[in-house]
C-alpha cells in the first residue's frame, strides 16, 4: 500500500515539477533583465538541468536504501528551485503571488532531504533546525513581505498584481526581508555545522556513501548563505554579476547532489549484479569464492566470511577454524531467524541493516552452498582426526605393553632363571637335573616373550626412528631388504609406526625373498615405495586404513606399494 502511495506521490511530484519548470522558463524568458535563468540560453539550460536533475534524483531514490522522506524532499526541492523565477515582472498575477510567497523554500527542502540521507531519521535538534528553516522561508521571507507589498505603489510598474497584498508598507517589506535574509544566513551556517559534524563523525566506510551527496549539499548551503548576504540591503539577491555567479554556483552544487544520488544508485546496482553473478556461480563456486566476491564488492580486502557451527565453533569456507581479526567487527547474515554466516569487517562498513539484509537475500543460495561445503569439510576433518586418535591410542597401548613386558614379566623371568641357577649351585645331582630342565624352560619362555614384545612394537622404532626400525626388521626377517633414502630426522611417531607396519605387512603378505624400500622426503611429505619380488598384494583395506589414519595415501600395483605421508608441521 505504502509503495503505491509512494509511487503516486512521485508521479504527482514529477508532473508538478514539469509544470512548475515550464512556468518558470516562460516567466524567465519574459523577464530577461530581472531573471537569473532568463539571462541567456546557457543560463536557462543550467537552471533546467539543476532543477530537473534534482527531480530525477528524487524519483530515482530508493525508499529503503535512501529513506522514505529523502526522495520526496529532493523531488520537491527540484520543483522549488524554479520558484525563484516566479516573482518576476513577466509572470501572471497568480504565478507572481506564488513566487512572492515561496521564493525561499528551496534551501530548507534541500536541507530536509540531506538530513534524512541515507535512510536515517533526523535527530530532535535537527528537526527543530529544519522547522526553523521552513518558518523563516515562509514567514519573514514569504507571507509577511507579501501582504505588505503592493508592486505599483512601491516602484515596480511592470509587475503584475500581488493577490495577497493587504496594504502597502515598504518599511515592513524592507525589514522583513532583511531580517529574514539574516536569519536564513544564520540558519544555513547552522545546517552546515550539523552536516559537517555528521561527515566528521562517520566511519571511513560510511563516509564513502555520505560524501558524494552531502559534500555538494554543504557547498550549496554555503552558497545560499553567501547569496542572501549579497542580497542584504534591498532584501533579496539581485541579478547582478555577483548574484548571478552565486546562483550559478548553487545550480552546480545541486547538480552535484543529484549526481551523488545517481552514483550511489549505481553502486547499489553494481553490488546487486555482482551478488546476482554469485548466485549464478554458486553451482560451480569453489570454497572461499564468496569471501573474495564480497571483499571485492564491498571494496574491503581484509573482509572475512565465517560460518558459526551448531557446536559453537567458527570456521571458514574450507572448514578450518577461524576467528575475526583484531579490530574487526562482525555482522550476522541472517535468514529465517538463524545466522547463516557472519562477515568480519572494519567498523562501520555495514552499518545499515537494510544493506546487510539485501546482501543476504541475494546471496542466500551461494551462502548456503558454502556453508554446507564448510560443514561437510569440518565433519570430514573431525572423522579423520577421530580415526587418527584411535590409531594413535592403539599404537601408544602397544608401546606401553611392550615396555611392561620388558620391565615386568621379562625382568621376573630373568630373576627366576638366576634363582634357579643359584639353587643349582647347591643342589643334589637329581635336583640339579630337574633344575636344569626348569632353567631351559625359562630361557625358552624368555626368548618367546622377546618375540612377542618385538611384534607389539620394536623398541628401536620407538627410540631411534623408522630407519632403525626397518634395519631391525631386515635383521629379523628372512627377506633380503634394502632400504634407501630415509631421512635422518625423526618423522612423526604415528607416521613412523604406520610406515613400519606397512613395510612389515607387505613383506609378510607378498611372501617375497627380496625387497627394496625407497624413501623420499622433501620436508613437506615423505614417500615410501616398496618393491618386492613376491606375489601381488591383495586385500589392502586394513593397510589403506592404517596409512589413511595419518592422512597418508596408499597406491598398490601388483607387488609394488607406494605410500605418501604428509609431514606434520
Amino acid at each position: 500500500m505504502f509503495r503505491m502511495k509512494g509511487r503516486s506521490a512521485r508521479i504527482l511530484g514529477l508532473a508538478g515539477g514539469l509544470l512548475i519548470s515550464i512556468i518558470a522558463i516562460a516567466t524567465a524568458t519574459a523577464s530577461t533583465p530581472y531573471s537569473f535563468g532568463g539571462h541567456s540560453r546557457p543560463f536557462l539550460a543550467v537552471e533546467l538541468a539543476a532543477g530537473w536533475s534534482l527531480v530525477a534524483a528524487g524519483v530515482l531514490a530508493h525508499p529503503e536504501r535512501h529513506g522514505r522522506q529523502f526522495g520526496l524532499a529532493l523531488l520537491t526541492a527540484g520543483s522549488a528551485w524554479f520558484l525563484v523565477e516566479f516573482d518576476n515582472p513577466g509572470a501572471s498575477a497568480v504565478v507572481f503571488t506564488i513566487g512572492l510567497l515561496l521564493h525561499a523554500v528551496c534551501p530548507p527542502l534541500v536541507a530536509h532531504a540531506l538530513a534524512g540521507y541515507p535512510a536515517r531519521t533526523p535527530s530532535r535538534s535537527e528537526r527543530v533546525v529544519l522547522a526553523w528553516g521552513y518558518a523563516i522561508a515562509f514567514v519573514p521571507m514569504g507571507l509577511l513581505p507579501a501582504v505588505a507589498f503592493v508592486p505599483a505603489r512601491q516602484g515596480c510598474t511592470v509587475c503584475p498584481d500581488n493577490l495577497l497584498a493587504l496594504r502597502s508598507a515598504p518599511d515592513v517589506v524592507w525589514w522583513s526581508l532583511n531580517i529574514g535574509s539574516s536569519l536564513l544566513i544564520g540558519w544555513a551556517l547552522t545546517v552546515l555545522v550539523l552536516l559537517g559534524g555528521r561527515i566528521r563523525a562517520a566511519t571511513v566506510a560510511a563516509r564513502r556513501r555520505l560524501l558524494p551527496v552531502l559534500l555538494p549539499g554543504v557547498v550549496y548551503l554555503g552558497l545560499v548563505g553567501a547569496w542572501f548576504w549579497h542580497g542584504l540591503g534591498p532584501g533579496f539577491p539581485g541579478p547582478d554579476v555577483v548574484g548571478r555567479a552565486l546562483w550559478l554556483g548553487q545550480a552546480s552544487a545541486l547538480l552535484g547532489v543529484a549526481g551523488g544520488v545517481a552514483f550511489d544508485r549505481w553502486q547499489a546496482w553494481r553490488v546487486r549484479t555482482a551478488v546476482a553473478q554469485l548466485v549464478v556461480d554458486a553451482a560451480r563456486a569453489r570454497p572461499g569464492g564468496l569471501r573474495e566476491a564480497f571483499a571485492d564488492m564491498l571494496n574491503e580486502p581484509s573482509l572475512n566470511l565465517l560460518f558459526p557451527l551448531a557446536d559453537g565453533r567458527t570456521v571458514d569456507a574450507h572448514g578450518r577454524p577461524a576467528a575475526p581479526e583484531p579490530g574487526q567487527v562482525v555482522t550476522g547474515l541472517r535468514h529465517d531467524g538463524s545466522v547463516v554466516a557472519v562477515l568480519a569487517h572494519r567498523r562501520g562498513l555495514l552499518d545499515e541493516p537494510d544493506a546487510v539484509q539485501e546482501l543476504t537475500t541475494l546471496a542466500r543460495l551461494a551462502l548456503y552452498t558454502e556453508r554446507l561445503q564448510a560443514e561437510t569439510q569440518v565433519k570430514l576433518d573431525d572423522l579423520r582426526a577421530s580415526r587418527a586418535r584411535i590409531v594413535a591410542i592403539g599404537d601408544a597401548e602397544r608401546r606401553r605393553l611392550e615396555r611392561d613386558l620388558h620391565d615386568g614379566v621379562q625382568q621376573r623371568l630373568v630373576t627366576l632363571a638366576l634363582s634357579i641357577r643359584l639353587a643349582r649351585l647347591r643342589a643334589s645331582p637329581v635336583d640339579e637335573r630337574m633344575l636344569a630342565a626348569a632353567e631351559t624352560q625359562v630361557q625358552a619362555t624368555l626368548s618367546d616373550l622377546r618375540e612377542v614384545a618385538h611384534g607389539l612394537c620394536p623398541a628401536v622404532l620407538d627410540s631411534d626412528g623408522l630407519a632403525a626400525g626397518l634395519e631391525a626388521l631386515a635383521e629379523r626377517s628372512p627377506v633380503r631388504l634394502t632400504v634407501t633414502g630415509l631421512p635422518a630426522r625423526r618423522l612423526d611417531r604415528s607416521v613412523e609406526q604406520a610406515a613400519y607396519v606397512l613395510v612389515a605387512e607387505t613383506l609378510k603378505r607378498t611372501a617375497c625373498t627380496e625387497a627394496t624400500v625407497q624413501a623420499a622426503d622433501d620436508g613437506a611429505r615423505t614417500t615410501i615405495a616398496i618393491n618386492t619380488n613376491g606375489t601381488d598384494l591383495a586385500a589392502t583395506t586394513d593397510l589403506e586404513d592404517r596409512v589413511g589414519a595419518v592422512h597418508g595415501s596408499l597406491t598398490v600395483q601388483g607387488a609394488t606399494v607406494r605410500a605418501e605421508f604428509p609431514c606434520a608441521s
Partner: protein, 214 residues
Amino acid sequence: MRIVIAEDETLLREGLARLLTEVGLDVVGTAGDAPGLLQEVTKARPDVAIVDIRMPPTHTNDGLRAAIQIRERFAATGVLVLSHHLESRYAMQLLEQQPERAGYLLKDRISDVAVFVDALSRIADGECVLDPTIVARLLHKFDAGPLNDLTEREREVLSLMAEGHSNHGLSAQLQLSQRTVETHVRNIFMKLGIPESTNYHRRVLAVLALLRAG
C-alpha cells in the same frame, strides 16, 4: 676381578651379586640407576661394570649412555651392557664408540654362569664381546658385502671371535690347531680389508664389520 652392578630391579641385582660372589668374583658396588652407577664406578674403580640398558631416570637407554660415559672417563674399567633387545643397533652404538673393553649381552645370559663370567674376564682383558644370538642372526643374514666372500669355516671363526673368544679359545672350540686358526683369522682380516695393527684392535674391527653388515 672387581665388579660393579647397575640394575634397577632389586631382586635381580642382589641375585646377580650373590651368583658372582659365589663363583669367586669381587662385587665392590651396586647401583639402581645411571647416576648411582657413575658414582659407584668413580668410587670403586672396578675392572668391569655390569649395566642394565633400561634404567631410571628415563627407562629408555640410560644404561647404554652411562656405559659409554664410563668408557670415556675410566680407561681401565670395562663395561658389559645387558639388554632385552636382539637388535644389533644398540650393540653397534656401544661398540662403535667404545670398541675395547666393552660387551653387549642379552639379559637371559646372566644365568649361564660360565658364558657370563667368561665374557666378563674377556672384557677385563680388553676385548669386545657380542651376544652369540645376535652374532648368529647377523651371520645368518649375510648376503651382501665383503662378508659374502667368507667361507663357512671363516664365518664360524668370525662368530666366535665376535663372542669374544681368543685364538686359543677358538682352537679349543673348533678342535683345530692354533696355526690353522691363525690362518683363518688372517684370511678374515684380509677379506674384510682390515689393515695390519695390534691384534685386539683388528679383532674389534672385524666384529664391527659384522655388526655393520647387519
